[in-house]
Structure formats: structure tokens, C-alpha cells
Symmetry: D2
Subunit: 421 residues, 4 copies
């Protein structure tokens, strides 16, 4: 680990605050970390290619222990009144407020999104805590009148049990919090399997909440974490009938696999998958506002959001004008280290993502599209990690195959709609 | 009663179908009508000035009997499961479907609104029945988690008791149904005091529902009616602690009196009062669509709706243009017998309303406004009742006193807004 | 077809009223029936073993046509305002009221449940119509305040598209109506694949609603029916991405298959599967009320409900007493033709179900349980169909394997709980 | 001010922490306190009869200024997104957590309830903050389907404006917070008129929230306070059309006055008034649990809660037994200084309340009831304030007039119900 690099942007200080060591255990039941014999995972920053830290991953045995602990914890946790569970969540929100800067920095450094987005992600964790605290006194069901005399009916919501959370690299902490904080006030317990590309964000998050769990005597097993390879915690996790709900974020391909395996055992799944969003620019559009919206939507998080703008459909009467504005704006996008406050676009998550990006560019060309700008890989000073690319704009016919599917990186594809209405 | 007039437009046939006799009792507990020694009320049609029928009004003694019957009926009715109450309401809806034409005709003839509006009003009765039937299986309360271990909380809605419904002449049947049908599915019982200007509509309505009440053995007192002078059923009704909810439609002046008297006894009041609605015509407006909207809003029901359009606020850039269009359109408004299918505007409710209209016209002039068109009283053939006037458009400065208060008849007042933003 | 049998209980008259012919088409888009070259299905009554009628089943081609028609109908239907769709459903409810007796009789005759249960099932259809009509004006979403200044958020619910309804023999019409009536007010269109054991109930239902669909010009394809073998409309139906929601009723085994196939394509499934319900009789129980509840729960619908009582768990202090009461009561259960008003228990659905029943009895014995009463197959006069059995009570240890799984016929299994608290 | 007394129980330290001076301004717009020429109010502790501090009360002019400021603040505050308003409320909750002990102590000392109840009241303030923060992202309205093609409807909730809060002495801070925190997240502004018997609690509360208001640049006028005599801020407040909602806590007599005056101007009122609650002890009751419940309900807050238990209705079969238990328990009630941790019952609010208590005791006797225990006034050491009485139990016939109305102090009245069912 190159100290000189880590001190840049205060990263080593942040790691210290977050309790990240050179080697970290990856399995935890809340406040207790398991000694595990599992394989070591190394987390490198897409930002500068440096090794950030190592993680001892969980095994099948660890998974079994974690699940059994969660089942036990559930029996206790579900009996705690919801407003008391809400109070724990409130304190988690306060603790996250304290660690907003270092955690936001780690998100930025491990995943590659710019610092403001890293902070924004932690803010979303805080916001869901506030929301969940309010919910803890509002877990409403309905009462109903019955058709039988002197009878009445009512719903009484009961928690499900263990909620399995599988999160993706692009939102390494927020998605967990959305699931976990709501699950916790409802009386469910949570087992988190984070992306192997961003394990340290998960470990840091667990370090933050551990204080609150301890202080409130929350049973071990209410909030568990397992960093593990899919070989050990994969389909077996999805098929586990002890996990009534699987909440998974990832590609559509993965989502379908989750849907099938969980569906077969009559489990519940919550899926947050990909997208291929288009913005329609009509002849009435305020082009300056549209430009800002497209820019933010297309290149934010280096195009690695499920909600990223991947297509533009532009009315012919404003087509040329808007195209030029957009190509012009793309020239001024600052690409670089995400912790540099002037940067707008950081690196892709890894070299494999760069390869996918290159393939997409080639496919566009092969299918008859034109790259209007961007598409290059960046090398040299500041780009040593090999994960930086220049966002591209492609001009294509609307019926190209590549336009019909998600390309999970910063390619904005334009085409034209004629005779609108 | 001039038979020749009544046969016009099939009115005498409608009266027969609706069970309206020359003299009718005005007090009823559902299916049973009281012999009452009360004063006789005569209902004349604003349409042609003819006496339609007479009503024996209720006395204070009748009121007392009705209330006691309602209290007794409530004890039984509230124990009937809501879906069974809903079944009664469903049958009322079906019965109203059968009598839609004659009842719509009577509404038109006794009150003066055009036939299509009369039918529309009965359709609103039918619609609320459908809505209420659905509600009868959805009278939802909430269940909530408690902060005490092993406790839970839930809401169980109970009916209030007697709901007093005071309705106005301009919607002689629909407003009752909105209140009564919802009250009935909730397990409340209803006492209706209709406007003395439209008592026959109320009696006809009760004749229609009586069959359903009888067939379902609904206790006498669940749906009561009292046609009475305010001397006998007025403030004493409002102040009656046996009537937990008063729902009143009428002028703002009356509403304030209801609010005060019911408020003082910690009762509940539901008030549907006047309005002084304006339509704003901006420089971006589609003037043709705006013209239709203004016309419908201003002259519909001869301007006697709480939602009637009484003011227009027009941007200076389209002011002259729109003014001319509107004045032009007013020339083609067909004023006449509301049962004539070519009529757009019928009579005002009575001669007193005509006097108010004339006063308003004079006030407009006195305060410096200009009558652009209309404002005359109509006489002669077809206008023998003396209740017909020509809808007026006045051009005024925005700060005229008369513009700031409701004028409950067909006067559309225009003024100009300059330098809008 | 033996006329003499059919005239018993007025069945042939009912079939005529319901439009059931000797041979019927099994594929319909609402009012239009397809001529199909598909295999003929014969529907025999479990009641008396008679052939009721024949059905020409749909093929893969028919399925394809039906789906394309449904897609087309959806485009129109979803644009009709929800209250108008509700009006269609209201009329369906009224039409079902008219045909309640013949349809209830056919349900009883084709499926074997007693006439009162057949009528009750049609009443449930009527009730859901009333509920759905109310919902048609209440398809509520939420509006929410945004964290962005001058912005607001709201939900706008849109219909899904084609809802596939797969129903089971034990509730041959009600389950369809629960799904179809709600789907229809929401703007969805419905494709119904009924159980091959009760196809005539489905055809009769479609004959009833056809009048309403026609009268309201409901597009062909809003309510479709396909009687078909699973070979032709089976997994291909489940996997069809043009059917966003599959609602299936059936065994848990089938449910898991639906869950897997629909889950894999990220579809939605609504599953109503089996159960293995127990009633706990505590030492405080009112034994007479418990007896009635157990009897109704265990032998109603010949134990062929997902909610049938299949197990009793009885406190030791009342065990012997309650056991004797129950065995005594079982002696008086009247088993016979379900249209005979004295009958309490009719036949099982077919001979295959009788074989399953016999197997279960043998398993109970083999696993060490004791049959306290019942378990015999009935033959001879009135039992010619070979589908009648005597409900059995078995006394077993709580941990017998057979107790842990659903036996979908009338076997009530008792065992004892000791040292309760 | 006797320092020696105030230092007892840490009161002078608490006053210092809460910013209470010898003389305090009583009018505030959030962070700014008005210099007012109004009459001085002196707040004495019921506990020890000592003067705690003085307050300069607001005049009619102050009221006018406050209202105008609130109107102005409303225009700004309502435009702040609800979640941002929620963030202010969250910080108020955190600030109340910091001051829970001193504020709880002041509540106890100024009003007379025991310290645990004082703390409990502040906890309720904190809880409502958490609840309101959650609500700030959930201010839900409904969206609905329209009966018009291509139209939809939705509710958009808008804040009302100024919410007037009139609080009573018995809950000097919690009731304000329930109203104010919900009003604030909704975008309303609040004007608080506290009871003249507990003005210092209100001033201390405003000192606590001032820091948060300042830090968040909340406009002056969002949270206003006016300590004033009813001569200056009384009916004029109720009648003020600039205050669309009046939330008042107090006696039923006062509530009726609010209802009438606010009702007359078509305003809204939220009333939390008295009660005359009974506990029914049936023959099946767990008498030990009932005893604890009655004791807590009857003597808590010295019987000065709207929810205090004032009547017991006991089944004859357990009547004597329970009566003896209760009279026995009353012997052990520790009456004394509310800040002494051994005390269960503190003083009544003032000598006038003692006089009312004595009158009630005499009325009981005069009407034929028997005082079973208690009823004495306490004097001497520790009781110098003259506000301490001994809770009484009266045995009465059920139809005594005094039983039918609320007696707002600690008198538990027993009587017997015979032939239950």
C-alpha cells in the first residue's frame, strides 16, 4: 500500500476513522467479527489502482453460522416494540451523520464516483433512517368491518424473518440502508452480502453501526454481514428457505436468476435491476434546462447508475441544435480523480468495465452508428489505474440492436424522432 | 293546477310515477308518513308559475317524534354488518336507476334547472350509491404498533348516530344522497330537512327508497324526512345534542350560524356553502376552450351553483378579444322552459331571486361598472312565472365591492389583470 | 346422457338457462366463441358419474390468437375511465344475481360441493363485483411532498396488461371473479384457463357475462377464456412475457412451478395454494362451539378447500371428551347427492381423489395412527359415480410424517398436546 | 426568591440552564423576545409556594405584531420543502434530548406533577419530533381515477397558515409540541398561548428551540409565544380570521366557547377537553392488575389529567373485596414534594383547586355518598404551599349528580353494578 497515494485527499485518515485495517474480517453479526479461514479478497481503487485493504471472506460454514445467529436474533428482535427498534435506527442515523465525510470519501475512493456523490449516498442513508424512525410508529395495517354480525377484522403485520440484501458496486452503501433500516423497524433481521468490488464500504458501515448496536444491546444477528464469493454464498443463499425475502440489486441477468430461484421456493424477492432510460427532447423543450438534465443523467456516476440516461430521442426541429450543444458540453467534462473537487467524471469500476465500454463503442460502429465524440480510453498521469474513459455520444438509427439494451457505462446514444404527432 | 300545463313535457305522468298527490304529508320515518296538523306549504314551479302540489309540514312535536324514532332505529341499524347496510344502498341505487327520468323531470320542474341537469343530478345519486356500496366493505381504520411490549393498537370506527341533513334548493336531491348513502353504510341514521323551495323532490325521493327500505326490513327511523318551517325545525335542530352531526348546504351566512350553534355544543358540522369563483384567462389560454368553460361555468343552473363562475380575470393582451367572443356567445343563449330540450338557461328559483338579481345589476352600475349585455327581466309568452332573466356580463374595476362577494345568480363579472408577472 | 338423471334436481333446466349444449366451444374472447380443431374434453359429474357435456379445447394456435386479441383489447380498455369500467362490472354483478340459482346448481353438479356451497360461491362473485365497483372510483395512489423546492411527487397507477388466471376445480368460478373483477376495474384484461375438471362452470360464467360485454361494447379480448390441456396452454402460458401477471390457484407443487417460471422472466405471480390448517382446542374452549367449527372446517366441501381443517391439536384435559363428541358427530354426517338439501357431504372430485384418500388412510395406519371412524368408500344406490367416501378421523402421534403435509380430502387428524404452558 | 428552597432538588441550576431569569419577557417570535409594557405575571410553585420568576405579559399590540409576523413567516415557511422543515424538527428533538432533565424538573416544579411524570412529558415531546420527522416525507394525499377520459385527479395538501395553540396547566409543554411539531412539518406556523399557571415552562421551551431556529435560519414568526391575560389575548384570538385553526386544551366549558366562536367564523378547532372516565371491574377481572391500573389512573398527576380515572363500576361479586384492597392501597400513597423520588402524589395546581376539591367532597356527602378514605387538606412541614390534599375514595349510588360530571382532582368514586348481563 503506497502511503503517499493514500494520504492524498485524506484517504488514510478516513480509513483510520472508519476502522479499516490492512486485513479485515469480512463476516460479522453486528458487533462481533468472525475469525474465518476463507480466501482473502483484495480491494483495489479504480481511482488510482492502489490496493486499499484486504478482506478475509466468509465460507459456507460462516454462512451457516450467520444464518443460525440471525434466526435466533429474530426471535428476540421481533418482540421489541417497533418504536424501540426505531430508536436504534435513529441513533444509527446520528452515527452516520458523524461519519458522513470519511464514509463518503471511502465510497468515492473504493467505487470511483466523485466525492459529492459519495457524500450524497451517505446522506441518503441518513434520510432513510429519519423516514424509518417515523415509520416505526406508523406500521399501519387496516381494520375492516365484517359481514358477520358482531365481528370485526383487522390486519396485524408481523415481520418476515431474515432479509437477505445483495448489493451492487455502484451504490455500495445506500441500497443496503434502504433495505436494512426499513427491515429493522419492521422487526426483521438483515444479512448483507455486498459486492466483491466494494467490500470495504460495507465493512466500514458495519463498524459505524456497531457502536449503536452495542449501546442498545441489540442482539447479535440483527445486522449481519458476509463478504463472500458467490461460490460460497450464491445460489445456496437464494434458495435458502430460512431467508423469506431476498432484496437484490444488480443486472437484469442476475435479477432473473434471483426471480427464478426465490420464486421456486415461494419466497419473496425485491429486485432493483438495470434500465435503458431515454430522455425525449420535444420541439417545446427548454434546451438549456434539457442540456443540464441530460448531462447530469448521462455522465453522473460515470453512467453506472440503473437510472443513467442512455438514450436521447430528439424532435427533428431541434435535433441539430441540441446535438451541437451536447457535443460542445461533452468537451468540457472534467475527467479525473473523483476526490478532486473539479472532477465531474471519475473512472469506471474496473478494467473489465473498460473492456465492455470499448466493445459497446465497436458495436455501435459495427451496427452503423457514428461516434460524435468521446469513446477513448485514458492513460498516463492520473489515469494509471487504466479505468478512465471519455464519455461518448453516438448518433444512431433508432432500430439498432445496441440501442435496445442497456449499456452500463457512459454512452449516450442519440437518435431522431420524426413527425412527432 | 292547470292540467294542460302539467301534461306538457310529461310532468303529470312523472308526478304520478313518483307518488306525488295534490296534498302530501311532509314527515316520514322511512316507509311511514305522519298525519301532521302542521301548516300547509305550496310548491310552485319557477318554470311556469303553476302550483305543483301541497305539503303538510312538520311541527315541533313531529320533530320530537322523528328524533326519538331515529334514536331507536340507530340502536338496531348500527348492529347490522356494514356490507348488509351496503346491500340496502345498492338496491336504492337500482331503484333510482328505474326512476331516473321522472325524478330528473321533477327536479327540473320544481327547481328550474334544465332537464339534462336534472338527470345529471339523479345520476350523481346513483354514483354515490355505487361508491357507498364499495365502501361498505372498506370502512377502514388503522392498526398500529405500540411502544409497549406485547401490545398493539387499533382503530375501530363506530357510527355517530343521527346525521341531520339540511339541503338547499339548487341541488334538491343529490346533496342529500351524498350524505345519506355514506351515513347509511357507516351505520348512521339520517334526518333530512329539505329546502322549503323544493319539498316535492324530497318527498318523491323518499317514495322511491321506501320500497327498498320495506323489502329489507330497514327499521323505521333510519331514513327520516321532515319538511318544516325553520320556526319549527331550525335552531332547535342545530342545537340538538341528539344530532351529533349536522351537514348543511346553503349560504355562507347560514353556514356561520350552523358553525356557531353546533360548535357551541361540541357537535360536528359539514358545511357546503357559497363561492365567488373566478376563472383566470392568461395570455397563453386556448380561448375557444376557455369560452366553453366560462359559458358552462357561468350560466349553467342559471348561475345558482356554489361552484358557478362569477368572476373572470383576463390578461390585458387577450382582454378585448375574449370579451367580444363572450358577449357574442351570450347573445345565443337560449332562455326558456327547462324541460324544452333546446333551452340552455331556465328560470331563477323564485321572484325574490329575480329581485336580488336586479339589485346586483343596479349595484354594479352604482359602483361604476358597465353592463355589457343582459340584465333584463323576461316577460310574456313562456315567461309567465316572472322568474326569467337574461344573464348579464358586467365590466368592472377589480376592486369594486360587489366583486368581492358572491352574487348567487347569473352575473358574470369581468375585469382585467395587467402586468401579469 | 341419461335424461332421467339430469331432470333430477332441475339440472337440465339449469344447463339450458346457462347455454350449455351437448358440445361447446371452449375458447372465447368475451362474446365470440372460436371454432377450434382442438381435442374434445368430456365433463362427467362426480355426483352421479354422468357425462354432462363435451368441450372442444383450445390449441396453441388458439392461445396465440387469444393473446393477440387481449393485447389489442388492452390498448382500448385501459383508456376507458375506471368508473366506466366499474359500471360494466356492476352490470356483471346484476347478471350474476339473475343466474345465481342455475350457476350455483352447475357448480354443485359439476364439482360435487353441496348446493348451498354452490350458491355461496356465486354470492362471492356478486360480492366482489360490488367491492370492485366501489374501487373503480378509489384506485388511489399517493401524492407526496418532495425535498426539492416547488416540486411535488405523485403516484399514477397504470394497469399491467393481460392477467392470466389459472383456477382450480374446488372453486370453479369464485376465484376467477376475484381476479377478473378487480383486474377489469383496474384496466387490465383477463385470460382465464379453468381447471379441466370443471370447464362447464367457466363456459356458463362466460355465457352470463357475454350479454353485459356486448351491451357495453366492451372490446373483444377484455375477458377471454381458454379451456385447454396443459400440453397446449401450460408452461408456455407461464413463460409468456405478454402476460405480466399470473394468478394461479392449485397445489403447492404447482405453485412452486409457477413461481419459478414467472420469477425467471421477472413477472408477477399471485398464488393461492394449499394448507394444512390445525385448530387448537385449549382447556378453556367452549367445546360445543368448537365442535361446530371443526365439523364445518373439516368436512365442508368434502375437505377439498385450501382452508380445510386437517389437524386438531387438543389439550389433554379435554381430549377424551372432545374426541367422543367429534366421533359421535361424524356418525350423523349425511353423505349423498350434493343437490339433495339434506346432504352435508358430497363426493370427492373424481376417482383419482378417492384413490388418494385411500392411500392417505393406509399411510396413517402404516405410520402407526388409528382410524377412529370413517375411511370407507361408498358404493351402491346413489353412489354409482364411485367418488363418495366416509370422512375419517385418525388419532395419531404429532410427529407422524403424514400429519406434516396437506392431505387434500376429508381426513381430520387428531393429536394431543400435553403440558400446554 | 428563597435561594435555599430553590437549590433543593437542583431547581436553581435547572432554571439557569433553561435561561429563566428573575424577570422574563413573555412574547417571542422564535429567537427574538419583545420588550413589552404588559402587566407582570408571577409564577409561584404549587410545590412549596415560592415565587419562581416573573413574566412580562403581552398586550393587544404585541398580539397584533405577533400575528403579522406569523403571517409573513408563513409565506416563506410554506415554500420550504417539507423534508427540510422536518430536519428543523429533528434538531428540535435532539435539543430537547439535551435539556430533558432540567425541563422535566421545571415542569414538575412549576406545575406540581412528580419528576418522573415531568420527564415523561418531555419524552413525549421528543417522540412527537421523531414521528413528525418521518411524516415530513409522507404528507400523503391521494391520486384518483377520474370518470372523464384522459383526466386524473389528485389531492395536494397545502398548509393552513397560523395555528393557534392554547395549552392547559396540566400538560404545560407536551400538548404544544404535539400541535407545533406536526404543524411545522406541514408548513404551518404556530402561535402558542400557554396557561397563565405555567408560563415558565413555555418560556423555557422557547429558549431551547431558539438555538435550532437560529441555526437553520427559520424565519421569525414560525414559532411564536405570547404569555398574556385572556383580557388581551382571549376571544379576540379565537375570533381572528387570520388564525384558521385553534387547537385548545382545557375544560369542557372553555371548549364549548372555542367551538362557538371559531365555528361562527368557519374556522377549524381541535379540542382536547375533560373526561369523566370509568373503569369497569367485572367478576372476571384480575384484581391485582386492576388495582395497579386504578391507582395509576386515579392518583397520577394528582387526578388532574383529562384521562384520569374518576369512577369505578364494580361487579357485586367482587365489590367488597376490591373496595378493601383499594382503600388499603390508598393508605400507602406517599404525598409530598414532587421532586422527592419517593413521592407518588404531589400538590394540586393551586389553592383554588384545593377549594374545588373540598367542595366536591362536601357535595358527595350532601348527595348521600360516603367518603371511605382521604379528602383531608394537608398542612405543616413540607405542605406550606397549601395545595396538598389526600386523595379520596367515595362510595356512592350510581345516580348521584356529582358522579355524572367531571371533578378535576383526585377523587375516585365507586359504585356498584348489579345483575351484569
Amino acid at each position: 500500500m503506497s502511503t503517499s497515494t493514500l494520504t492524498d485527499y485524506g484517504i488514510s485518515e478516513a480509513l483510520k476513522q472508519l476502522g479499516i485495517n490492512e486485513i479485515n474480517n469480512g463476516v460479522c453479526t453486528g458487533t462481533k467479527w468472525f475469525e474465518t479461514p476463507g480466501e482473502v479478497l483484495e480491494s483495489y481503487s479504480a481511482t488510482d489502482g492502489q490496493l486499499i485493504a484486504k478482506i478475509k471472506q466468509g465460507t459456507k460454514d460462516d454462512y451457516e453460522k450467520i444464518i443460525q445467529g440471525a434466526e435466533k436474533a429474530f426471535k428476540e428482535w421481533r418482540m421489541m416494540p417497533a418504536p424501540h427498534r426505531g430508536e436504534v435506527v435513529r441513533q444509527i442515523g446520528d452515527e452516520l451523520r458523524k461519519y458522513k465525510e470519511p464514509l463518503g470519501k471511502l465510497v468515492s475512493y473504493e467505487m470511483g464516483k466523485i466525492y459529492q456523490e459519495g457524500l450524497g449516498e451517505v446522506q441518503e442513508m441518513i434520510d432513510i433512517c429519519d423516514f424509518a424512525v417515523g415509520l416505526s410508529r406508523q406500521l399501519y395495517g387496516l381494520t375492516m368491518h365484517s359481514e358477520r354480525p358482531k365481528h370485526r377484522m383487522y390486519e396485524q403485520y408481523h415481520p418476515l424473518g431474515i432479509v437477505g440484501v445483495i448489493s451492487a458496486f455502484n451504490f455500495p452503501v445506500a441500497v443496503w440502508s434502504w433495505n436494512a433500516m426499513l427491515a429493522m423497524v419492521c422487526g426483521d433481521v438483515v444479512l448483507w452480502k455486498p459486492s466483491s468490488k466494494t467490500p470495504l464500504c460495507a465493512i466500514a458501515t458495519h463498524n459505524i453501526i456497531a457502536k449503536v448496536l452495542k449501546q442498545n444491546n441489540v442482539p447479535e444477528g440483527v445486522c449481519s454481514l458476509i463478504v463472500a464469493s458467490s461460490k460460497h454464498v450464491g445460489d445456496n443463499f437464494l434458495a435458502d428457505t430460512r431467508v423469506p425475502l431476498i432484496s437484490a440489486t444488480g443486472s437484469t441477468r442476475v435479477g432473473k436468476r434471483v426471480g427464478a430461484i426465490v420464486g421456486e421456493r415461494l419466497g419473496r424477492s425485491l429486485l432493483e435491476l438495470g434500465g435503458n432510460n431515454a430522455i425525449i427532447i420535444s420541439e417545446h423543450a427548454d434546451l438549456d434546462m434539457a442540456l443540464r438534465a441530460v448531462l447530469f443523467g448521462a455522465v453522473g456516476t460515470a453512467g453506472q447508475r440503473c437510472t443513467s440516461t442512455r438514450r436521447l430521442i430528439i424532435h427533428e426541429s431541434v435535433y441539430e441544435n441540441f446535438k451541437q450543444k451536447l457535443v460542445g458540453a461533452y468537451q468540457h467534462i472534467r475527467i479525473g480523480h473523483p476526490l478532486d473537487s473539479k472532477t465531474l467524471v471519475g473512472p469506471l469500476i474496473d478494467k473489465s468495465a473498460v473492456a465492455d465500454f470499448n466493445t459497446a463503442i465497436e458495436r455501435v460502429k459495427g451496427e452503423g452508428g457514428t461516434i460524435l465524440c468521446g469513446g477513448e480510453n485514458l492513460n498516463g498521469d492520473g489515469y494509471e489505474s487504466g479505468c478512465y474513459v471519455v464519455p461518448a455520444i453516438a448518433e444512431v438509427k433508432k432500430n439498432l440492436p445496441i440501442v435496445c439494451h442497456e449499456t452500463f457505462c457512459s454512452t449516450a446514444l442519440h437518435h431522431e424522432i420524426q413527425n412527432h404527432r
